[in-house]
């Protein structure tokens, strides 16, 4: 099987073509040059605002000059800067000093939450840690069955409720289980919901409150799962979910397709919310820590340095 970098690069190959930066070299930075750069950024879902900001900077620094390596380095650095949160992004999961480290996973319908939970579980299990999973999606048909399959494949303990049960009560039971079993990690999968559905957002807050009450300082990580093919609507998602449950990071999925995930840049314009992991496939291994440098390098179709992962 291809390594993740190959797969990510394969997925981002179209992007590489899109941001065909090598062809910039030697051209004059004029109106038509800027328009082309603008088009490329917009097509990567970077959004109007972030694109305008970047263009302005390029214009200020390079207008009338010949595009050279300096320009490339500048655009790259700006993008990396746009993707890096104020304090620098933590690379891995931040474990709590006293277990169970509690992770809450949320997002809109079909973004890849359950699969990302499975991938994270696999990652955590391979660090030798024990894990309890809470199937708090009691709404969607067979959602708990889906998680059960993954729990079995990854050797995690699953707590589930009846269909239609109060998800907060499942979270409650899962906390008890994790505490009783002295599990290292508790991870909570939630039902997909649109950020505009106030009652469902309140339900999510209720789950969060249960975790908070039962486990000190929980949830320790709150990951928002965003579909990498999503456009500007993802900005609203990030805003609303953050407001409701205080997200600590984004998992950007489905980057093995032809989408660029540029909306991550747009989100960073509005919120200080780092991308923590990226999903590059449907398999259990297809999750990798996000590194802005590598992401931008692959946007530029450049060779990636060998990664420890």
């Amino acid at each position: 099987m291809a390594s993740w970098i190959e797969r990510l690069k394969a997925g981002l190959a179209k992007t590489a073509k899109l941001l065909d930066v090598r062809s910039w070299l030697g051209r004059t930075v004029d109106q038509s040059f800027l328009e082309r750069l603008e088009a490329q950024l917009l097509q990567a879902d970077v959004g109007v605002k972030a694109t305008e900001r970047l263009l302005q900077k390029v214009k200020e620094g390079f207008e009338g000059k010949t595009a050279d390596e300096d320009l490339l380095a500048f655009v790259k650095a700006e993008l990396i800067n746009l993707l890096t949160p104020a304090g620098g992004a933590p690379e891995a999961i931040r474990y709590a000093p006293t277990p169970p480290t509690t992770l809450l996973i949320a997002g809109v319908n079909g973004s890849g939450k359950t699969t990302s939970v499975a991938k994270l579980t696999h990652r955590i299990r391979s660090e030798g840690k024990s894990l309890v999973l809470a199937a708090c999606d009691t709404f969607r048909a067979a959602a708990a069955d889906q998680l059960a399959v993954w729990a079995q494949r990854t050797g995690a303990d699953l707590v589930r409720g009846q269909t239609g049960a109060d998800p907060a009560s499942v979270a409650h039971d899962a906390c008890d289980r994790a505490l009783a079993r002295k599990a290292d990690v508790l991870m909570v999968d939630t039902a997909g919901r649109l950020h505009t559905q106030t009652h469902l957002m309140r339900e999510l807050e209720k789950i969060r409150n249960v975790l908070q009450r039962k486990i000190p300082n929980a949830p320790h990580e709150v990951f928002l799962v965003l579909d990498g093919t999503a456009g500007q609507n993802a900005i609203r998602q990030a805003e609303m979910f953050s407001k409701s449950i205080g997200c600590t990071g984004i998992i950007l999925t489905k980057l093995d397709g032809t989408a660029k995930g540029g909306v991550a840049v747009a989100i960073r314009q509005t919120l200080d919310l780092p991308v923590r992991f990226i999903g590059v496939g449907e398999g259990i291994d297809d999750l990798q820590p996000f590194r802005a440098e590598e992401f931008v390098a692959s946007l530029f179709g450049e060779r990636l340095a060998a990664s420890p992962n």
């Binding site: 179209k14 088009a39 917009l42 097509q43 990567a44 879902d45 959004g47 109007v48 809109v108 319908n109 079909g110 973004s111 890849g112 709404f139 969607r140 048909a141 067979a142 959602a143 069955d145 889906q146 059960a148 399959v149 993954w150 997909g192 649109l194 950020h195 505009t196 559905q197 579909d227 093919t229 999503a230 456009g231 500007q232 609507n233 993802a234 900005i235 609203r236 489905k254 093995d256 397709g257 032809t258 989408a259 660029k260 909306v263 509005t270 449907e282």
Partner: protein
């Protein structure tokens, strides 16, 4: 973030007073605002560019109606052009006279295929048809269970089996439907990327062997600039008969719809407006046009003028 287009336009037009007639010069800033609104609604950039050129052509020379402001007039023109682009669609499904009518749903991962299968089955059953659902996603964990659960909720039979591939499941499903006296078969396929050759080939094989009468592409309304890439590829592989746009119950503005329609020419048939099985409606281009522009009642206002 999504400022009302009209508000922005009045800002753009406020900078100079337009009197009498719209000219290339006096609508320049206004069109810039329209462009931004379309991009923020996730309309594909190429589509936006063509569209702006077209609107410009239509708008220039147009007399400004006395009782309304130029920004309102531009919004009206843009709105009408958007509606025209998306086309009035006919949401009826043609049924075969003999033998079961076969519908196949396909699309990217998580777009809403399985849920939409359930919604369609429910809708058709209410119209007096006898549908059968076929669980041809053997890939995603518990996908079969998901469809079975939906079937149970609707009291609609589900054909599912293990130990054979998805192509065979579809073939057997059609045979089972005929035997059970069902007149409509709905195939739920696994989500796949349009660049996954192997899985795209599998879909083509299903199409060849099962010959579905209608192939629908299920698309998430929140998709960004890349929406057309996948729609184009699925259309090239399968000759789509329609698009079903899902998750329009949120604040996604539906720019993907416009882009897909424009680039593939495939009509948008239905829209999903909720997770529950009764949340499927015929596609409404006016609603999408309105939400793409993020505007209220301006069209009515202008029409009345």
């Amino acid at each position: 973030m999504f400022d009302d287009l009209q508000k922005r336009l009045s800002g753009a037009f406020g900078r100079f007073r337009v009197r009498g007639v719209l000219t290339e010069q006096n609508i320049q800033d206004g069109l810039r605002e329209v462009r931004t609104a379309l991009l923020e609604a996730d309309v594909n950039l190429n589509v936006v560019q063509d569209f702006i050129a077209k609107v410009k052509q239509r708008a220039v020379g147009e007399q400004i109606i006395k009782s309304i402001r130029p920004d309102q007039q531009i919004v009206k023109i843009v709105h009408d052009e958007l509606v025209a682009l998306m086309g009035e669609t006919d949401a009826t499904i043609r049924f075969e006279k003999t033998g079961p009518t076969i519908l196949m749903l396909c699309g990217l991962q998580g777009s809403g295929k399985t849920t939409t299968c359930g919604k369609l089955a429910r809708m058709l059953a209410l119209q007096g048809r006898k549908p059968m659902l076929v669980a041809a996603d053997l890939q995603r964990p518990a996908a079969v269970e998901q469809l079975k659960t939906l079937g149970q909720q609707l009291a609609i039979p589900v054909h599912a089996e293990t130990g054979v591939g998805p192509v065979q499941v579809c073939q057997n499903g059609v045979a089972a439907a005929a035997k059970a006296g069902c007149d409509t078969v709905i195939l739920d396929t696994a989500g796949r990327l349009h660049i996954d050759d192997e899985l795209m080939e599998e879909l083509k094989t299903i199409e060849k062997k099962v010959k579905p009468h209608h192939v629908f592409f299920v698309c998430d309304a929140m998709t960004g600039q890349d929406a057309v890439a996948s729609a184009k590829a699925f259309n090239e592989a399968l000759e789509l008969d329609g698009v079903i746009l899902t998750k329009l119950d949120g604040d996604a503005r539906g720019g993907a719809a416009l882009s897909i329609r424009q680039v593939t020419g495939v009509p948008i048939k239905f829209m999903g407006i909720g997770e529950k099985l009764d949340k499927l409606s015929p596609f409404d281009p006016r609603r999408i046009a309105g939400s793409i522009l993020g505007m209220g009642d301006i069209v009515g206002l202008v029409e009345a003028a």
